[in-house]
């Protein structure tokens, strides 16, 4: 197995070990007028790959400009790594075009599926954790990494249901994928919290079973709580501030893994840019503390 963090051409403007934010069209103009030195500083941006796969127009106009000033990560939602009937090769070619164009430091996708019979459900649906699924998912990751000529990161899912046929626990399934393919992990701490709450798992145990050296990026996001007949379920909707429980779990994660590039994700009810910068500052405070500890220790 090749070393997951050195494989591929990740030398172009690497993502710094600080907090970045998800890039939204509502904020394009403000980001350009602030410039890269405005305080609190934005360390880097992440975009949804699919939003920049049109031929031209304003999305590319703005991303070209912003890319000149900031490191970039591209986060895909459409490759459907766990689809049983094969990857959509047109889509993979489109991803390669946009990755070649913008040379992002990180390229990531999800451990889930969203395409069946050629229909795209626009949701990240969980997989049964079986030997069959593991083989299919790993083959697709190999195919993608070979086609793109670089390493990708894969994100742990959030989920609201489990399959009876699963005979591996989620952290073990993830470790198998990382070991088999040499891809890295995009550790979504909010997803760990949401899934653990929904399924009665232990979030700290989940995180402690992951290998720090495989983690290339962390995601933080807000979620909501829905009540059904007095019972609650956590919904991963990326529409609010990161909650205190997730901040605490992030703090625990950093204590195990050391500082990692961390993204504030906020995709619905998008707030003012300043709110995102403040969330990023909160992550930076924890990252800097760990960085100091690492340097002095």
């Amino acid at each position: 197995m090749s070393d997951p963090l050195t494989m591929g051409n990740n030398n172009f403007d690497p993502i710094p070990t600080n907090a970045g934010i998800g890039l939204k069209p509502q904020h394009y103009e403000e980001i350009l007028s602030l410039g890269p030195d405005a305080s609190p500083k934005i360390g880097w941006f992440e975009v949804h790959t699919e939003n920049y796969m049109g031929a031209g127009g304003p999305p590319h106009y703005y991303l070209e400009k912003i890319r000149q000033d900031y490191p970039l990560s591209m986060h895909g939602v459409g490759l459907s790594l766990g689809t049983a009937d094969g990857l959509n090769l047109d889509h993979l070619r489109g991803v390669k075009n946009v990755v070649d164009r913008y040379q992002p430091a990180l390229v990531s996708e999800h451990i889930s599926w969203s395409i069946a019979n050629g229909v795209y459900l626009n949701d990240l649906i969980p997989l049964p954790y079986t030997a069959e699924t593991l083989q299919i998912t790993c083959a697709h990751i190999d195919q993608i990494q070979n086609f793109l000529g670089r390493q990708i990161l894969v994100e742990n899912p959030s989920s609201y249901l489990l399959f009876k046929s699963s005979n591996m626990e989620e952290p073990d399934f993830i470790n198998e994928i990382l070991g088999n393919t040499g891809c890295g992990l995009l550790l979504d701490v909010n997803n760990v919290y949401v899934s653990c709450q929904n399924h009665g798992w232990d979030a700290r145990d989940y995180i402690s079973r992951l290998k720090p050296e495989t983690v290339g990026e962390i995601h933080l996001a807000g979620h909501s709580v829905k009540e059904w007949r007095g019972q609650s379920l956590r919904i991963d909707d990326h529409g609010s501030n990161v909650c205190n429980e997730v901040w605490a779990l992030y703090d625990y994660t950093l204590s195990l893994m050391g500082p990692k590039p961390t993204l504030i994700e906020w995709d619905n009810n998008i707030p003012a840019l300043m709110t995102l910068r403040q969330e990023a500052e909160r992550a930076n405070t924890l990252l800097n503390r760990d960085q100091c500890a690492k340097n002095s220790g």
Binding site: V77, N122, T133, L161, S165, Q231
Partner: protein
Amino acid sequence: MAGLFDIQDNFLSAILESRNDAIVDEILEHDLSVGGLSVQERLNIYRNNTFITLKRALAQNFPVLCRLVGQQFFDHMAGEYVQKHPPITPLLMTYGVKMPEFLDDFDAAGSLPYLADVARLEHLWNMSFNGPDSEGFDLEELNKVDPEKFEDIILKLLPNMQLMSSIYPVLDIWLANQTEEGASTTVNLERGPCHLAIYRKAQEVEIMPLDPASHAFFGLLGAGKTLGSALVQMTGKYPAFNLQEALQNIMRNNLIAGFEFAK
């Protein structure tokens, strides 16, 4: 236990057609003390999420259609659209290509016969917004052409240009419904047919009303006809067509992306 292919196939049926029978057997019944939701309720979360996000994508791609019919009706209509024409690519920026024909067959929209053409305009607007950029063209290049070779020129209009015609005044309807406040403005449907070019030069999409002859001429250029052969076809159908005026109009509006000569 079903294999992965069958699980995903059955999950798809549950989401799009509410046919849960085959998939429920595959999903773990949770201990009611943890979460306490039934398998059906858990599936509903995925169904709702799929429909909400895809309906939202349609509302983003068809904002004027949404204003014309009202949020509630649009929601219902978009739900039926998602069921009938779920996306077949993860690129949702142009999701809804079949909206015009869907509306033609959608009985509940029958009282507003122009909806399909408004949807067509909005889809073309989107195609132009996300379409290829043009490099910019120096008109001097055309002046250098030997007049003898003029009729062999194949003129390339902006690569993101879209053309449409409607028997309804859809541009007026579209313009009157750019904001919620405007949505109450009445448009005189007697104003009749319109012909439109939809294009983007820098970052702004523009819509230009055309007379029928210009619309036909733009269409011939878009199909790759030489100026000579376009002129022959135009004069047959539109005796009053004036090539020089048409070209001046195109140049004045900077609609040219380039040109080449017929081989």
